[in-house]
Amino acid sequence: MPLESPILLKNIPTPPWGEFADRKTLSYDDYVKADGYKSLDQAIGMEPKDIVEIVKAAELRGRGGAGFPAGMKWSFLPPQDGGQRFLAINCDESEPATFKDQVLTEFDPHLIIEGIAICMKACQLDTAYYYIRGEYHHHRVIFENAIAEAYANGVFGENSRMGKVNERWPNLYLQRGAGAYICGEETALLESLEGKRGWPRIKPPFPAVAGAFGRPTIINNVETLSMVVPVLANGADWFKSMGVGRPEGAPPNVPASFGPKLFGISGPVQRPGVYEDNLGVTLKTLVEDHCKGMIPGKQFKAAFHGGISMGVLDTTEYEAEMDFDIGKKYNNLGLGTACATIIPHDVSMVAMARNCARFYSHESCGQCTPCREGGNWLYKMLTRIEAGDGTMKDLDLLLEIASSMGSMPGTTICGLADGANWAV
């Protein structure tokens, strides 16, 4: 069932409810006029643990790539011990094909800020860092300005309307990245926040226990936190009335696909952009209805359906349902960021694989040998094959290298190498 009315994009004109051309940034006052900050007021009157319970009951899953249930993550925090506790908001958004968080950041920054404040109150986190990728210059200015407005209106800082959180006045700061894909990985992001190289950490300990500066830290994606705002206002049941829910016959502890999601579609379609629809919408609907189809003369061949790290859907999988079960159903790595690049009939898959290999070899942080060396090796071989100089032996070698890389076979620290090897 299609989404009836926009939820996250309520204030951001988007077809079929509005026009891209009418989008503009909402100021604090605009946002309050659109009923903004009501969920925060509601949260202020609640016990922190009751807020966490609602998010848990809604089974809101992380929208940054891994799909981990947010409420569950929040409940992993240890009890308060008097020391600082942090929130890191992941707006690194460097996964190729992915450009959804920037739309929220650019046009409705206070929705994100409200979600951040609610999370801080629910989890008793006193300091939040908004980690935004270095290349989002225009967005950075907008968000910086929105933070200043939030301080001026008593959301953060001394005399915050939230009162003291974790025995301190709550603060939100913007942190600018500096051009490194790997800093989107949550522990690399923390290293970068601490002023170091973005090198993922070996887990455990998990960030909820020992994260930024060795203290308990929650890391969530921008879209995940924004979704907390309507969930709190309307309740868990409302949220669960949208999306495709749990696969038939699955026990209740299996994470499901509830609620709407942002989908960014790019490539040779008539109207590329970021749209909102229920989880479970088909790729075909996204392309044909939301994006008004392919541009004339181009045919759908395949798609990177969730950023490039999750694999591809082929021509026969055009009607795949975009939900968290896509990995199991269609044998790929998962929904990822749910941002799809459409590959047309006249682009070669070898060229695409080569592009991905170059990306991963370039963005590898270099800590793990299989990832650092393997990525580069794959890239060189694919370049050779694309130039027409490949041999049959190359194919065997490609497979051998690819299957030796990744945290799945247990040879690397983080998931970058898993994203790198699927293409082969």
């Binding site: 190729p96 450009f99 600018r176 051009g179 942080c365």
Partner: protein, 174 residues
């Protein structure tokens, strides 16, 4: 490439008397930035950005000054600086053109853009023109895939570029 290692310790450092780390930046960090974090090291990246925004690149002397200011060994700050693609440890052009080469942009024809710009500026990717005006960078996804192919010129984003209109992004630059 993120994992390129640091230059060897024998490197000759060009020095000048005037510090790169200005009194203004120091003051701003002491009053506004240090209180944000539990320790000073966390200010490394914001500080490097501040210095680079002012001088357009990060000379070794500036790295040393930053390290001194943060109470860290220079090697630690250099370690961080060399990891990130946005930090330039060598002089670059007044305008840096970042052309995206990731999947959406490749599908939508980015290679023609780079060719055209290379030809027009007489430099290849990761090179700077002799007059010091332009540096051309081939980079990975810049998060504007809906407007592919796209490029940043310093902080300004240009979308839906073609071989025909790509030169326009140079128009109006002094």
């Amino acid at each position: 490439m993120a994992w390129i290692t640091k230059q060897s310790g024998t490197i000759q450092i060009d020095r000048r008397d005037e510090p790169y780390l200005t009194a203004e930046i120091r003051k701003d960090f002491e009053s506004r930035m240090f209180p944000r974090y539990p320790d000073k090291q966390a200010c490394t990246i914001p500080l490097l950005h501040a210095i680079q925004d002012l001088h357009n690149w990060l000379p070794y002397q500036a790295i040393e000054e930053a390290a001194d200011f943060l109470g860290l060994p220079a090697s630690t700050v250099l370690d961080t600086a060399t990891f990130y693609e946005e930090f330039f440890l060598e002089p670059r052009g007044k305008y840096t053109i970042w052309v995206c080469q990731s999947v959406s942009c490749e599908i939508m024809g980015n290679t023609k853009l780079v060719e055209k710009l290379s030809e027009k500026l007489g430099i290849g990717p990761h090179e700077t023109t002799e007059d010091g005006r332009f540096t051309l960078m081939n980079v990975e996804c810049i998060g504007a895939c809906g407007g592919a192919p796209c490029a940043l010129v310093n902080h300004k984003l240009h979308e839906n570029l073609t071989a025909d209109n790509v030169e326009q992004i140079l128009d109006g630059l002094d």
